[in-house]
Symmetry: C2
């Protein structure tokens, strides 16, 4: 088998690490694919590590021991973060987005891979240092964002359904009260979907009063699971009284102005 040059090994190693965020890759994987000695691969890894550090593009962590190796931990520079959030606010302020009932049309945004990748990166970065077992969300609009966060954290996504489905086997269903209109709603999940005593984060597209978030906490309790944190793309700050406190968000939405403009700005909860 042919050898690779250092440059080529660096390109291949970077690709394999970036594509598997938060997954420990044993050095043997690289030595086999690249036909190189462990010491050589270790030197290659120093180059990748330094580059990501210098450009604030995340980091490479080394895990020692028998099951050890290296892993890519996602990250984003403050500059790139602020540029993205400003850009997102401009996209969301488009007058065509205001639909009857003074709702903001954002379905396209929630399914736009360019936007969701960056939003997912920002939210995942906020939970990088917690030991998360599952990312949970409730269908439908927030699924791509929650999937992106789960992928960045290298963990399983769990989607709670509005109704139990027969393709899910035995399910656990709870009722919860929507915080904004007081209606009773359902949330359901397969018993197979979550292991007891796990640690979860909740990711969603939009926060009104936080009734859904309270429902998530209740449903997780049925599995003796703990909610470590919440990440939201858009926080409706026009509803100041929330049923939950501890969450991160990216954009604040403060309703429609008398002039008919959507009032949007980078979230105050956003660092």
């Amino acid at each position: 088998m042919e050898k690779f040059t250092r440059n080529q090994r660096v390109a291949a190693i970077t690709k394999m690490l970036i594509e598997n965020p938060n997954k420990v890759i044993n050095l043997n994987t690289f030595t086999e694919i690249l036909n190189a000695a462990k010491s050589t691969v270790s030197e290659d890894l120093v180059i990748v590590k330094d580059t990501l550090n210098r450009l604030s593009m995340g980091r490479i962590d080394t895990i020692s021991g028998a099951a050890g190796g290296v892993k890519y931990v996602c990250g984003i520079s403050n500059e790139e973060k602020m540029d993205f959030v400003e850009e997102l606010c401009i996209i969301l302020r488009n007058k065509d987005r205001i639909i009857p009932g003074n709702f903001l049309y954002m379905t396209d945004v929630m399914s736009n891979p360019y936007i969701i990748r960056k939003a997912g990166l920002i939210l995942a970065s906020a939970f990088n240092d917690k030991k998360v077992d599952y990312v949970v969300t409730v269908e439908t609009k927030g699924i791509p964002l929650a999937y992106e966060v789960a992928k960045m954290l290298g963990v399983q996504l769990v989607v709670f359904r509005r109704q139990a489905k027969f393709t899910e086997g035995s399910t656990v269903t709870i009722n919860y009260v929507s915080g904004s209109n007081g209606r009773i709603q359902n949330m359901s999940v397969s018993k197979k979907a979550i292991k007891e005593n796990s640690k979860c984060i909740f990711i969603d597209d939009f926060m009104k009063a936080g009734g859904t978030a309270r429902g998530i906490i209740d449903l997780l309790k049925e599995f003796n699971c703990e909610l470590l944190g919440m990440g939201i793309l858009i926080d409706n700050v026009a509803i100041p009284k929330k049923l939950v406190n501890d969450y991160v968000s990216i954009v604040d939405f403060n309703g429609i102005s008398p002039e008919g403009n959507a009032v949007l700005m980078p979230s105050k909860k956003f660092k």
Copy 2:
């Protein structure tokens, strides 16, 4: 500003390309971030290009002209593809997955980023050379897979809903007949979600008789849109008569054997 070494530039360029599949990146983006001459960056790109080629990890295309630059086009080696599909069959054959009604529990698989990334890569690779404007799917289970394919192809995802929502503005709704049980169902999408005369592919988790696929074609006709192709994770070949013909799939499911085992193998439609 400090200079970067060739190795460091190669690492940074690889990361930026891999994270933006099918998006043309102008060489100026690299020269600015890496403080290097265009000729230098061009040489770096040759290294990245050669490495991906040699390892069958996708390719780098050069686009000439004023709006030109380079882009990463996803790809997977036949060996990696076959290893993954065999592994997926083993996961799906687990006896615990058979639930009342002889359904296969696969919700966890459809929300597992490791599985969905590879499945998405395989399906996206089948449509790399078509000019796709949208990836469409119908809620709920197939959304992560469809999102992953849309991301790999660098295009917008559109999720069709079972019911029109007031947060979607004006919607178009069609009725279609489920191919397996003959029931009439709805499918709905915001009028804002799709531009007329676009080219789409449909991605879903499971194919029975193909009634949903027929519904997708009908709903796309309302927008004068063309369906270029379909990609399915699991094809239920126990229902041999399909309402649609032209699709790619990854795994064939041939029902539950008399011994109570799910019969699963790499799809015959899978090359």
